[in-house]
């Protein structure tokens, strides 16, 4: 490295050059620290995966007093009954929990996806500026509310004021009540991300369509929404992922700890997440087969959300339209 000339016309003769070698060392140290931080956050995923694999493996290899494997994988995947605490011998058919999760998610999606998309269209295409900014901040409030509050809302408002007047078949807990609450929770995710996608569609496309004599609605349905489709689908997938992993709402509103394979929205169901809550709240002794089963359930849950996120990323990457 060359050192600076002793003085330049602008510098006082007393000014000394900065210490170049020290500077390079500092650069190296800082870059290393930042790199380590990055590695640490990446390690999180790996660690989650490893722990889930190890503990799930532990669950499937647990042996009873007679040396038999307690829960073979075939039973876990094939049995239709999940009853680890009440029946003897305990039954571990994860399908019941998965169906509970899917039922709640389907109800939430049926509620939130169309409503969220329509809201997004209203915000992006119709709403006057002032209405839009007010509406957006209201949706932001909705997005900021802790999920446990939605659980409370399901129990104290949705069930007694919306569902029970409708049909006497609704008890305190139901998949419907939890599903609607989860739907309200994911609504702002859909509306805000879908709105971003819609607004990214250039105005020139709308003009082009209008100039051909299409109505505003035809423009939206045939040009704007198709052009923003990848972003809209990604927002749907993210919302569904959040619904699958949602815990506190379903733990409060979906059921009282009984898993069953059903498609009846008025029925009590247990989701994968709600089962984990039940275990970790201390209903099952640590180290026992019930306790260990929560890891196998968590692994299943992780697999679901991982695949959803992955598909979402793929769609965004493959189909994103790039506009000037």
């Amino acid at each position: 490295m060359t050192s600076l000339p002793a003085s330049t016309p602008f510098l006082s003769p007393r000014a000394r050059p900065a210490r170049v070698r020290l500077r390079a060392a500092v650069e190296w140290i800082i870059e290393s620290i930042l790199f380590l931080l990055t590695v640490l956050s990446v390690a999180t995923t790996v660690a989650i995966f490893l722990i889930l694999v190890r503990e799930t493996w532990g669950f499937f290899t647990m042996r009873g007093a007679d040396g038999q494997v307690l829960v073979p994988i075939a039973d876990f995947l094939g049995d239709s009954i999940w009853s680890p605490l009440l029946s003897n011998p305990p039954r571990f058919g994860v399908a019941s929990l998965v169906s509970g999760t899917l039922l709640v998610t389907a109800i939430a999606a049926a509620f939130a996806l169309p409503l969220g998309l329509l809201t997004a269209v209203y915000l992006s295409e119709y709403a006057p500026q002032r209405v839009r900014s007010v509406l957006k901040s209201l949706l932001e409030i909705l997005a900021g509310i802790p999920t446990v509050v939605y659980g409370f809302f399901a129990l104290t408002f949705i069930t007694p004021n919306l569902l029970q007047p409708l049909s006497s078949s609704f008890g305190t807990h139901s998949a419907m009540s939890a599903g609607i609450a989860v739907g309200i929770m994911i609504l702002p995710i859909v509306s805000s991300l879908a709105e971003d996608a819609l607004r990214a569609v250039p105005q020139s496309l709308r003009d082009g369509s209008l100039a051909l004599g299409s109505t505003k609605a035809e423009t939206i349905l045939r040009v704007v929404i198709p052009a923003a489709l990848s972003g809209i689908v990604a927002s749907f997938l993210l919302a569904i992922t959040r619904a699958i992993g949602e815990t506190m709402i379903v733990a409060l509103a979906a059921g009282g700890g009984v898993a069953q394979l059903t498609a009846n929205p008025a029925a009590q169901v247990q989701t994968m997440t709600a089962y984990m809550v039940q275990v970790f709240l201390g209903d099952a002794p640590a180290g026992g087969v019930e306790y260990q089963s929560s890891y196998a359930v968590a692994f299943t849950l992780f697999a679901f959300t991982f695949v959803m996120t992955w598909i979402g990323a793929l769609i965004l990457r493959r189909y994103r339209e790039v506009y000037e």
């Binding site: 990446v42 722990i51 209201l138 900021g144 509310i145 349905l221 970790f280 968590a298 996120t309």
Partner: protein, 323 residues
């Protein structure tokens, strides 16, 4: 032309129908928010009192208060902020300012967006293994512990659990483990928000500094970071608000006890507001629902204050980068 025309008036009418449907959807969203807030206000305001804020939990709803969860939430969120904010900004700096646009960087990026999709309860399992149990370190034995006695300038081992300077290994389910757990949950959000803030800094600013002979870090530290900081702080405050509302991962690591004291050190047992709300909401008795609603009001007030802070920060410190 012999082609039959689709009726323009019918088309105009159906166009109006779409507008009505969209406006209706937006209205339903607002109505949901309104009925939620109204329900909580009606149920909860009656139970709000100074005594409610300063009492511990109780078997009787009338005597119960939220001092322990309130204190717990503050402790846990401070720890979470101290860990997640620097880590998030550091990672974002590396990814945006240092990492080459390579395959590896693509994988890291995908990884971070994947992390954002992991259900928070699953983070609880990682935290349980890593922070609460140290992956099985000294399992079955008493944890290694020590505390510092500043007045006598010596280290006690085993430590005094009443001292503020008390640490044990593994951590167990104390506030430190709770804060670290929440840091895990919000880290991806913090990283993404910081990355977006850094990306918004115009390239010309960086090039100007580089052209003056600044080193890489000097550019990042003195030019890019200050320019991105207001946006980053907004992201940070949103991350911490998210942490304030999380219950599931803390439930997994065991922060769900009938806690009758406020934390005294990093290893103290704790509970947080969302867990207390969960506990009370889940009970069948109506009077517990009322205090749950009151606790929700406190929770929402804290969140609102936090978000007001976010808006204030955004407006106070956001200097225009380009005229």
């Amino acid at each position: 032309m012999t082609r039959p025309e689709a009726s323009p008036t019918a088309r105009t009418r159906s166009s109006h129908l779409v507008l009505v449907a969209c406006a209706l959807a937006a209205f339903i969203a607002v109505a949901a928010l309104a009925s939620l807030l109204l329900t909580i206000a009606v149920e909860g305001t009656g139970s709000l009192s100074w005594k409610f804020l300063t009492s511990f939990a109780s078997r009787k709803a009338a005597n119960a208060g939220i001092l322990a969860p309130l204190a717990g939430s503050v402790w846990v969120c401070v720890i979470c902020a101290l860990v997640a904010i620097p880590m998030g900004i550091g990672t974002a700096l590396y990814l945006e300012e240092y990492a080459k646009k390579s395959r590896l960087q693509g994988i890291i990026q995908l990884n971070i967006s994947n992390l954002a999709g992991v259900p928070s309860i699953v983070y609880g399992l990682l935290a349980l293994a890593a922070f609460v149990r140290f992956f099985g370190f000294r399992s079955g034995e008493k944890p290694l512990s020590f505390s510092i006695e500043w007045s006598e300038l010596r280290v006690l081992a085993p430590g005094n659990p009443d001292s503020f300077w008390f640490v044990q290994a593994p951590f167990g389910s104390g506030v430190l483990a709770g804060g670290l757990t929440l840091a895990l949950v919000v880290l991806p959000i913090m990283i993404t928000a910081s990355q977006e803030a850094l990306r918004a800094v115009p390239k010309s600013l960086r090039q100007a500094a580089e052209a003056l002979g600044s080193t890489h870090w000097q550019v990042a530290w003195r030019v890019t970071l200050p320019a991105a900081l207001p946006t980053m702080m907004t992201g940070a405050i949103l991350s911490i608000s998210r942490a304030l509302g999380e219950a599931a991962p803390l439930l997994v690591i065991g922060g769900f006890l009938m806690v009758l004291q406020t934390p005294t050190n990093l290893m103290s047992d704790f509970t947080v507001l969302p867990l207390q709300i969960y506990n009370w909401s889940g009970r069948p008795q109506e009077e517990f629902h009322r205090i749950a609603a009151a606790a929700i009001i406190v929770q929402l007030a804290v969140l609102l204050a936090f978000n007001a802070l976010a808006i204030f920060v955004r407006q106070a410190f956001q200097k225009p980068l380009q005229s």
